[in-house]
């Protein structure tokens, strides 16, 4: 578990802090309440992911964003461990939506650092090809029919492609490097 991860020194240098970061982040949907975090730790205490490793800590993420430690945040793949259970969102006494902040940071990593999990890239390219996250082989569609199930609704691939383009996602996908696993 924890011994497989590198030890990152905790001393923060002044030049690491980007004072504007917290304002940029709290403008984005889901992260609006960031500045209300008073570090009570409820989110970390109740986070199921935090229970099973020694480094994914939602409270720490909130503080790091407040301090503007952008580089550390966006280069840490721990960000991809949130399972979006929303326990932290429901329990935070200040109404901070940690899951929303984590999503904002992930989106930013993809946009600015051009990196995403391999699985996300695969799912995205499947959606572009099939409209679904899987490409259904003929045999599976036949089996549906044999079981008396109605045919699967058809995808509208033209629209899907347009949506990827309109939201800047096609370009993001093309550029993005990938990583396979997050060590824990």
């Amino acid at each position: 578990m924890s011994e497989t991860r590198e030890y990152v020194p905790n001393v923060i240098k002044a030049e690491e802090m980007d004072p504007k970061f917290k304002y940029e982040i709290s403008k984005l949907p889901g992260a609006e309440k960031l500045m209300l975090c008073f570090q009570c730790g409820t989110c970390t205490a109740d986070c199921p992911i935090s229970r099973f490793n020694d480094f994914y800590r939602p409270r720490k993420i909130a503080r790091m964003v407040q301090l503007g430690l952008k580089d550390r945040l966006l280069s840490d793949d721990a960000l991809w461990l949130c399972s979006t259970c929303f326990t932290c969102v429901d329990h935070c006494p200040q109404g901070v939506e940690i899951a929303g902040i984590v999503r904002v940071l992930r989106n930013l990593t993809v946009k600015e650092r051009a990196v995403m999990p391999l699985v996300s890239k695969e799912l995205a390219s499947n959606i572009l090809k099939a409209g679904y996250v899987y490409e259904f082989p003929e045999s599976r569609l036949k089996r549906r029919e044999m079981r008396g199930l109605p045919p699967l609704p058809k995808p509208n691939l033209e629209d899907v492609k347009k949506i990827f383009e309109l939201t800047g996602s096609s370009e993001m996908l093309e550029k993005a490097k990938t990583f396979e696993k997050v060590k824990s």
Binding site: T84, N107, A124, I127
Partner: protein, 294 residues
């Protein structure tokens, strides 16, 4: 004539991997006079795209909502993930003018517009709020007396509370428990019932979700439940499909069958295990089936 009519949103995972869920759901809903209309067209709800681009997720989801609006039908999902994404998008676009205008800008390019005229419901919400306990009770012909099960409803049909709004208590959800009790089975309490299955991160890390699932299965075993009941394909795969791998990873033996709620209800309605595809489960519910057939 059926009064309850929904556009059924199957999602991707159920038709690809869990025919047992789809088939049992269609069977029990038909018995309850719920009419399902198929989606005229489909694209992924957007759930797996939220981590990489929130606007992509919102637009993919909104496109599905527009299709439902055109038919003037509420959406019924069988998947917690689809429910969560479609419901969140439906709420956020209705309430936040800026987001709505932005997403409608994208949608106008494909000849669509979000209006906010329909609702999104998960199977559990439809059964509790629209079908009602009386009707379900009447449809139970073979009560599953002496059966003791536990439930895992999953996160996204109760959390985050600010979006879900179906009256169930996220700290102590009772909707699925009450639905289980209608089948005649006993629904047991166990430790940490509301804990997440962990499946959303399995693509980047298996160790953490496996430990979470192991703990869940231990808690379920501790109360001697004969089966775990789920209402989401992701939770189901975590505990059923992955159970043998979890057993190997921790050198444990659980052997806990994981049934879709619709299979449990189907059995209580008198459908056979074969009709409900119980044989498709990874962990075979052999004991449970023979107890029911006695």
């Amino acid at each position: 004539m059926s009064e309850l009519k929904y556009l059924v949103f199957l999602g991707c995972v159920i038709p690809y991997r869990l025919a047992s869920y789809e088939i049992s759901a269609r069977k029990v809903l038909k018995k309850l006079d719920v009419e399902l209309v198929e989606m005229p067209e489909f694209n992924c709800c957007g759930f797996p795209m939220d981590p990489i681009n929130h606007d992509l997720m919102l637009t993919l989801a909104a496109r599905n909502l527009c299709l439902a609006e055109k038919q003037n039908l509420d959406i019924l999902t069988l998947c917690n993930g689809c429910f969560s994404i479609l419901n969140e998008t439906n709420k956020v676009l209705a309430e936040d003018k800026d987001v709505r205008e932005k997403i409608n800008g994208h949608l106008s390019e494909i000849g669509m517009e979000f209006k906010g005229t329909i609702k999104v419901k998960h199977l559990v919400h439809v059964l509790v709020e629209d079908v009602g306990f009386e009707k379900i009770k009447d449809a139970v012909k073979k009560p599953l007396a002496n059966l003791r099960v536990a439930q895992h409803g999953g996160c996204h049909i109760v959390r985050p509370a600010k979006h879900v709004n179906h009256g169930d208590d996220p700290e102590n959800p009772t909707m699925l428990k009450n639905l289980i009790r209608l089948t005649g089975a006993e629904c047991l309490d166990y430790m940490d019932e509301t804990e997440c299955c962990g499946n959303p991160i399995i693509g980047v890390n298996e160790e953490v979700p496996f430990q979470m699932a192991r703990e869940k299965l231990e808690h379920v075993r501790a109360v001697k439940a004969q089966a775990l009941i789920t209402v989401c394909p992701f939770c189901h795969m975590m505990y059923d499909l992955n159970q043998p791998r979890i057993e190997r990873a921790f050198n444990e033996k659980f052997g806990i069958p994981v049934l879709h709620y619709t299979q449990l209800l189907g059995l209580a309605m008198g459908f056979t295990p074969e009709q409900l595809l119980l044989n498709q489960l990874r962990v075979k519910p052999t004991e449970l089936v023979s107890q029911i057939q006695q």
